[in-house]
Amino acid sequence: MAERIRAWGVVGTVARGAAVAVVVFAFLYVLVIANPPPEVGGSWRTTNTGSALDDPSSFLETILDGLTFAGLLFIVASGFSLIFGLMRVVNMAYGAFYLLGGYIAYEVQQRMTGSGIFLSGQDVNTWEWVVPWLVAMACIAVFGLAVQQLLLRWNQGQDLRQALITIAVSVIVADQVIAHFPRTVPLGTQKYGGNAVTISWPGWTNRLVDLHIGGVHYSLARLVMLGLGVSVGIVLWLWLQKTRTGMVIRAGVDDRQMTSAIGINIQWTFAIAFLVGSALAAFGAVVSGSQSSVAQGQDGQWLLYALVVVIIGGMGSLAGAAVGAVLYGLVFSFAVAYLPITGNDCCQQYSVVLTFALMALVLAFRPQGLFGRVA
């Protein structure tokens, strides 16, 4: 590895120096350089809230936004990473699983609460969120398992072919979702066509919590999102570290052939991992659909999020997925809050470029991702 990095030579040194400079500048910008908007106009120093010194509570809220979004990112990315880590399958259909799961949860919730009305949020009790969540996870788990058994199993070891198969699945599923969802809509709105729909959080999450730090009142629903992300992380960690199935999975990640040679049914383990990984896609979709919405086109978007998180964190590593999710979540929320607002068309809409910048930055120093092992 060291030789390859050295071979990168002068260009690499310059590029990495520039990368460090950019990061330092970004930190300085957020901490001191930025200014709150004046009465008229604006410059490259103008942001919505000004720097962290000008407005500490907004700064704190932005950090919380980033961390809570990271919780959601982790739920989605951990499933993707689990499947990749064990089976070397890059499941490009993951975004489509996500989309389908979100719409299924929406339909179930609409049926439970009485269809055709806009839910006000307060009216939804915990069960009316939990049941759609479970149903969506179960459906997508079974669907994912079917894809794995029918399409991927007999192409094992041919990772490019498997990636292309899952791309095909993703296109088919995403288009079918657009054709058949949403089925239950309020009167006067269009059925089908993949319109944006919202799953409702349970009513009790719909309030602000006083955090007693810097006078910040923060949305309970977003804190619940973070809590769910952390819980998923803990449960997955316990599962992989403490149970027999988890040990077998870890053994399979390390050395697949040896694991099956000592008499473990690795196919069974693969199936379980794919089941859990797919269910996590639906889990993420329900949480994200509750926080914002489920809509067509999000399959590509969430596949991007999952890909970026695992590329940053390192493929197949749970800790990597967590760190990648936190980094990406923070970059995402700070981009929205702290990109300058100089004119009518600048600059917050360029935030997606920062995704690329973050990825390029990490890959410039660690081509295998932060927690990845050299293949």
Binding site: L160, I167, S170, L304, D345
Partner: protein, 189 residues
């Protein structure tokens, strides 16, 4: 050996036949076949050729190609469309000469491709595939969210293309065929 020679001969024959067909096509086929099928086939063929070039000579299977196609298309559309008095306009509408625009769009796309390639160059195999897919999705989301250069709907305006047969004067098609091709994962639709 003779089998090899037969194969080469057959390939040459197919090549020549395709060339002849391409030259004669405007005389033979209806405009539907020309515009909707053969032209599309050639466009997609160029995209596929870039993929084949990369995978055959570089061993890199890249999903960034459709994204780069989209970038080039958007760049061209923004460079050559002009403001129409009274009409709905969208995009940068630089109104350059189309030939200049073609060259500039290709140069711009190559520059972006070099940056993409520099970041991806140290990964390989399935990692390369994932990384290049993120490029395509980023390009897709970028043109979608930056309304300055068009957003999801096509760049609207008119071009000063001196296109003879196919051209109505306001040909916005250059951009509207672009937006779906930059859609991630669906290279052909």
């Amino acid at each position: 050996m003779s089998l090899e020679r037969t194969k080469v001969a057959t390939e040459r024959l197919i090549g020549v036949a395709a060339l002849v067909l391409a030259i004669l096509a405007p005389a033979i086929f209806s405009s539907f076949w020309l515009n909707s099928i053969l032209t599309q086939a050639l466009i997609l063929g160029i995209g596929a050729a870039s993929l084949i070039f990369l995978s055959a000579y570089g061993g890199m299977i890249s999903l960034a190609q459709t994204g780069l196609m989209g970038i080039a298309g958007y760049a061209l559309a923004n460079m050559v469309t002009q403001r129409v008095p009274g009409g709905e306009t969208k995009g940068l509408l630089l109104g350059w000469d189309p030939t200049l625009g073609l060259v500039a769009a290709i140069l711009l796309t190559v520059a972006i491709g070099v940056v993409f390639g520099a970041v991806a160059s140290r990964s390989y195999g399935i990692y390369f595939l994932m990384l290049t897919l993120t490029y395509t999705v980023i390009a897709f989301l970028f043109v979608g969210s930056v309304t300055l250069i068009g957003g999801f709907s096509p760049v609207a305006g008119s071009t000063s293309t001196r296109r003879g047969s196919s051209g109505t004067s306001s040909r916005t098609g250059s951009a509207s065929t672009t937006s779906p091709s930059s859609r991630p994962c669906s290279c052909t639709c």
